[in-house]
Amino acid sequence: MLSKGLKRKREEEEEKEHLAVDAWWLDPGHASVAQAPPAVASSSLFDLSVLKLHHSLQQSEPDLRHLVLVVNTLRRIQASMAPAAALPPVPSPPAAPSVADNLLASSDAALSASMASLLEDLSHIEGLSQAPQPLADEGPPGRSIGGAAPSLGALDLLGPATGCLLDDGLEGLFEDIDTSMYDNELWAPASEGLKPGPEDGPGKEEAPELDEAELDYLMDVLVGTQALERPPGPGR
């Protein structure tokens, strides 16, 4: 059905190969396609949606609209599959209820958990980028890294409704500084890596390019984000 001029994404082509798909729903001649879709989604549609979700989340900056639409569609499919598992086995197709059972048993909790944690990741990334700078957003004067000021995402200098962030916020920002960060050996000389953790390698390579002033600036920024990132309560 897809025309010859159509370019498929390479990744989706590869994924499609791995799918054990009975692609009856792709056939435009199939009666079900022309009518309203079956009340119970085929497992292949479910799998496709899960793959799309993972593919979307694997992107460094997922398209939020695409992500939200896929997640909502997946929830719909999931919801429609749940009652099927509760019903007594239907004569046709015999494989469907058990497949749905297995999928639900193994993937429901896992899926919810993975969706939740992946969306949570998004929000943490967003939280990082929201760190307000203590100065105007033109950038602290005289400081630049590699010729381009890092864009720290939303500088929500909000209107009268929420008050002035700068006035009250500065105290809060620096209240909870974890000074052990300064003791961390990673921060000692400028030749050490910038980022802690698994990115030591590339960090160490680019560090010699930065001088003391730039490193200080980065530290200030990260201290600010560290303080913000510190959520109350147990767990993450």
């Binding site: 398209d63 997640v71 980028s129 995402g153 920024v221």
Partner: protein, 449 residues
Amino acid sequence: MIPGIGTLTQDTLWCFSQVKGTIEIGTTEADIISTVEFNHTGELLATGDKGGRVVIFQREQESKNQVHRRGEYNVYSTFQSHEPEFDYLKSLEIEEKINKIRWLPQQNAAYFLLSTNDKTVKLWKVSERDKRPEGYNLKDEEGRLRDPATITTLRVPVLRPMDLMVEATPRRVFANAHTYHINSISVNSDYETYMSADDLRINLWNFEITNQSFNIVDIKPANMEELTEVITAAEFHPHHCNTFVYSSSKGTIRLCDMRASALCDRHTKFFEEPEDPSNRSFFSEIISSISDVKFSHSGRYIMTRDYLTVKVWDLNMENRPIETYQVHDYLRSKLCSLYENDCIFDKFECVWNGSDSVIMTGSYNNFFRMFDRNTKRDVTLEASRENSKPRAILKPRKVCVGGKRRKDEISVDSLDFSKKILHTAWHPSENIIAVAATNNLYIFQDKVN
């Protein structure tokens, strides 16, 4: 509203006028046109592309000798608006693709436009220079400083004509206010402010102030796991500077009044059509996601585009649209495949003609559709090189759904889904349209008798 202008009666015939762009098959992605916009007089036509460039075409003066040829659009200015950037904190590349261009109304000899990529809005000034001063005392003709000791006479520099030069300069850069991807910008009717909208927030800017913006809409949930809806488009009312609308991925439109509160999280009006139970499917939400929202020139109506339809809403009626037009309903039975290849997520735009009597939107296979609101007639036309002879009349196209295919029809299965018309523009007062087909810009005019 000018009677007769812009009505799509049986007499309106659309002709090919011009095409801009290269013909080669292997075009670079950077050349893909991502936005098209006429300015308020229609004298200028701007395009933005994936490579961050803006190209402005200017309509040449109509000559009395060539009455049959209305003014052609020729390149006026080309400049690099946005460059690819790197967000160091998130380790992300910021695309230079121009998402939207919006013109400011002309207030002096210079032209101003806003252009935006995913994160940063820029105000560009485009001005002409056709004179230059000559006869400086302290500088020689090449601009080198002269030794003051050699100067024995004084003269007054004079302005002499020079070859026309069009310069584009960035006058303002509005950065660091959007965490998510900007999808819309809209200039307010007060000409002092404008708004920029991303997936979750809308900010209000003053043109003079770049280091501050007001957040007027914020739909980000406290817990991102609860996120189920994003903002897809936003626009200011053409006359009421306190009113704007924004659309969502769930097919709803909210009208907000900035006088009601500083943060417009509570809408003044909420437009949503109840779901048709007979058309329900797993893809109902995706196809209801609104990809574009546009006020009519009159300000009385809004038009929305979702995947399969264009709808016209009366601002005074929130519970359903007053008109619904099917763009390509034959795709309804193909939604599974279109979901698989992601075409179902394509974002088509829609436009009004100058008198609000005809609306236009794009489709696949380089087809675009026009709907006459008065006569209820519609037509499907194609932007292709084959129909590109000067003043060639465009032949209406038809998609055959099933059964016997007539001679000139094209069957649904033969449609090329890689050729999508996402961006179109209509001249503010004449029947001149600009249609972006991947990397080519087509300009069509109605036939001058």
